[in-house]
């Protein structure tokens, strides 16, 4: 076995490959990771642009939005719907799960590629197709789908109600394709992490990032099935004229809500976990500390995963479910705060007696913890059935989930990108630009969404394209807060160019990173940066857990997994 592995790495062919083979038809896990990453970033630009357009409309109702024009009510709905769908399904999922899963799992497990490279390629291709279908849906007659990302029927299933018969169908098709892509992707994440770990790597030697991505994939697989079935039913309702969700023909619209949220709630942890994984890697590296209570973290993740299947109806408290059911879901929802709180405490405890360097990735990781706690605790207000009667579908909910999703999808992604950039591209990012970008993102972020909590507390509800029709909401100071949020968003978007500039500049002129720029421990730092096809010159063997920083027996403050002694 060992000799075969060495030979393999040596006789890797480095011949000329055509552009097509190299960038579009590659089976190399790192190239597929890049495909997912850049598709995700491109979609983030679209999703961010949509947010800009509808926030401009909210702050200055009826103006010509620069780069867009007038926003009609129908367009407003389509923009919000697709903003939400894109950010979750085409940004958070591909960047956190697919891009980093593909890049990190083989490297951190010490193998040369994913187990099924061709399935991996197919997964990306289906994902790309889904993104294309979604983008096409904006331009069909009637416009893009506008029935909210939750797509509650019968609005979404009957064209006469939504007035976007084609857009709604393409939306459902795109979402279903995206699910298939991630089910296929999951095959690789699971089998590679289970079967292809480097010799010596026991379960408790697996870095958190890998654990989290794998558990997230399992959660996804176990929760998405009913919604795929639901998507098929909805497609038939739309295109064949069945009545699964049409109450006038014996269907039940609330069924969709159950199918959607049975997936929807685990889904939020599907994206949360990878981000938590990156944060674990980063805070240990830059605090030079062993991860506090590694096993406890795993147990909390398992507990969260299991509980996450029991809370879905907290999104449906007031949707006409049996009111007695609400008690059960209140209790489970509140329970889930316990493992997540514990996880947060463990991460914070990791800093104890550390030696913390405030590099850009570390700043992102710390910001993740702080901002996510705000998002998490505001979820408690919503999980309590009584108060949720008031909060449901207000901007308080909106601010709650942006305080969770933004840290995950954007802060977490930036943490990951800045941390692994040297490994991905072989160059270091510029620290000064990185910090400008960090503060230019974090400060506006809070200025966008803190005001939205206040607006929600005062009864402002969601998905309304102009509040002028509501006397209680069309108040001066409320409008001022809306303007503040919008202006902060513009500031944040401007600062994103610093990131892109930093990215491009560092690719061209950045300092060479070397194999292990942070003196980190896990296996991805044992191979050249960027890793060649086949990754490791000699496939590594693992001798110890991943977070052995500042071990008292050692001169150096790190002790890589692959070093024999």
């Amino acid at each position: 076995m060992a000799t075969a592995e060495i030979r393999h790495a040596a006789d890797e062919h480095h011949g000329e490959e055509s552009f097509f083979r190299k960038y579009l038809w590659s089976t190399d896990h790192k190239m597929i990771a890049m495909q997912y990453l850049f598709t995700g970033i491109a979609m983030a630009l679209i999703g961010g642009f949509f947010a800009f357009v509808f926030r401009m409309q909210l702050a200055f109702p009826g103006i010509e939005v620069p780069l867009y024009g007038m926003v009609s009510p129908a367009e407003y709905n389509a923009l919000v719907t697709n903003h939400g769908s894109i950010m979750i399904f085409w940004v958070a999922m591909p960047v956190l799960l697919a891009a980093f899963g593909n890049f990190l799992i083989p490297l951190m497990c010490g193998c040369d590629d994913m187990v099924f490279p061709k399935i991996n390629r197919l997964s990306y291709q289906i994902f790309l197709l889904s993104a294309i279908v979604l983008v096409v849906s904006f331009f069909v007659p009637g416009g893009g789908f506008g029935g909210a990302w939750t797509a509650y029927p019968p609005l979404s299933s009957i064209g006469d109600f939504s007035l976007t018969p084609l857009g709604a169908t393409l939306w459902v098709v795109a979402v279903a394709l995206e699910f298939v892509a991630f089910l296929l992707g999951g095959i690789n994440f699971i089998t590679t992490a289970m079967n292809s770990r480097a010799p010596g790597m026991r379960l408790y030697d697996i870095p958190m990032a890998v654990w989290m991505i794998v558990i997230a994939s399992i959660l996804f697989m176990a929760s998405v099935g009913p919604l795929i079935a639901g998507a098929i039913m909805m497609f038939f309702d739309q295109q064949l004229g069945t009545g699964f969700f049409d109450p006038s023909r014996g269907g039940d619209p609330v069924l969709w809500q159950h199918l959607f949220w049975f997936f929807g709630h685990p889904e939020v942890y599907v994206v949360l976990l990878p981000a938590l994984g990156f944060v674990a890697e980063i805070i240990t590296t830059f605090a030079r500390k062993k991860l506090f209570a590694y096993r406890t973290v795993l147990y909390t993740v398992f507990a969260t995963g299991i509980l996450s299947f029991t809370v879905w109806a907290h999104h449906q408290f007031i949707s006409g479910i049996d009111p007695r059911m609400a008690h059960i879901f209140t209790i489970t929802t509140l329970l889930i705060s316990v493992p997540i709180a514990e996880m947060m405490f463990v991460y914070i405890a990791t800093l104890y007696r550390g030696s913390i360097t405030f590099s850009t990735p570390m700043l992102w990781a710390l910001a993740f913890i702080g901002e996510f706690i705000i998002g998490g605790v505001t979820g408690i207000f919503l999980g309590a059935s009584g108060p949720d009667i008031f909060y449901h579908d207000t901007y308080f909910v909106l601010a709650h989930f942006h305080y969770t999703f933004f840290p995950i999808a954007i802060i977490g992604a930036y943490a990951g990108i800045t941390y692994w950039f040297p490994k991905m591209f072989g160059k270091k990012l510029d620290e000064r630009l990185g910090k400008i970008h960090f503060w230019g993102t974090i400060i506006p972020f809070n200025l966008i969404f803190l005001p939205l909590f206040v607006l929600g507390q005062f009864g402002q509800h969601r998905r309304i394209y102009s509040y002028e029709a509501f006397p209680e909401l069309a108040v001066g100071w409320m409008q001022d807060l809306r303007v503040l949020a919008t202006l902060s968003l513009i500031a944040m978007l401007v600062f994103q160019f610093v990131f892109f500039w930093n990215f491009i500049r560092s690719l061209r002129r950045g300092e060479e990173a070397g194999e292990n720029p942070y003196n980190a421990n896990s296996l991805e730092w044992a191979c050249p940066s960027p890793p060649p096809h086949g990754n490791f010159a000699v496939l590594p063997t693992v001798y110890r857990p991943p977070y052995e920083y500042s071990h008292p027996d050692r001169e150096q403050d790190f002790w890589p997994q692959w070093q024999k002694d």
Partner: protein, 235 residues
């Protein structure tokens, strides 16, 4: 910048539950943030100082986590109790007092219409008063609402009452409220219902019994005339 008016019998109890959660959760947030920032500050890298080696599996340091998580569980219990008490009041009980009246609330793309029981106090009789976008009720009288939808989901939301309930086509959903003050307040549609979802404002007018009776009298005449003119009796 006055806080939302409190105009239903249960609005205050919802606000109280929110306050309780805010205190408990706020305590933890402040605590974790203080600890978090203190650790960041205290253990910033300093030349010549090396990080400690703490696995977190030792009893002593781990105890802090375990105790904290038990305490969070205790807080959760209080929150659940508070939440459920309010919930049972708002969603699981219906008023039985004899003066209770029933109104029908109808959501459709994209307007609210309301059926008031009229002077006889009974719904689905000849003197029912129908109105569009305006719901008239009496202060101090319990009402049961029957929420229906003609097409897609809507949501009957009255922030001043802290009340919200989805309307589902094909079902009749019952709930209740009792106003504690007069005035006129927003009714919002809080469930995405299509292009006009943002244009579905309603108005809740809470009147004294005398005002309400006067309003009914005016409406009764108007409705009678309209019925004759259109020549059809709609359901």
């Amino acid at each position: 910048m006055e806080y939302l008016p409190v105009v239903s019998t249960y609005a205050q109890s919802i606000d109280d539950a929110i306050l309780l959660i805010a205190v408990l959760v706020g305590f933890w947030t402040v605590l974790t943030f203080t600890l978090f920032f203190w650790l960041i500050f205290r253990y910033r890298a300093r030349p010549g100082q090396r990080a400690g080696y703490v696995t977190g599996e030792e009893r002593q340091p781990k105890r802090f986590i375990t105790i904290a998580h038990m305490l969070v569980l205790v807080c959760d219990v209080f929150i659940v109790i508070a939440a459920i008490r309010v919930w049972v009041d708002v969603k699981q009980t219906l008023p039985t007092a004899p003066e209770t009246q029933t109104v029908r609330v109808i959501g459709q793309q994209w307007a609210w219409s309301f059926v008031h029981p009229g002077p006889d106090g009974v719904l689905d009789t000849a003197d029912d008063i129908k109105s569009v976008d305006e719901l008239h009720i009496e202060v101090g009288r319990p009402y049961i609402y029957e929420l229906v939808s003609r097409d897609v989901l809507h949501d009957f939301s009255v922030p001043a009452f802290r009340l919200k309930q989805d309307a589902i086509p094909g079902r009749i959903i019952q709930g209740w409220f009792e106003a504690t003050d007069t005035g006129s307040f927003d009714i919002q549609c809080a469930e995405m219902c299509g292009i006009g979802h943002g244009l579905m404002p309603g108005r809740l007018v809470i009147e004294t019994p005398e005002q309400h009776a006067a309003w009914m009298a005016r409406q009764g005449q108007a409705a009678g005339r309209a019925l004759l003119a259109s020549g059809r009796a709609s359901g």
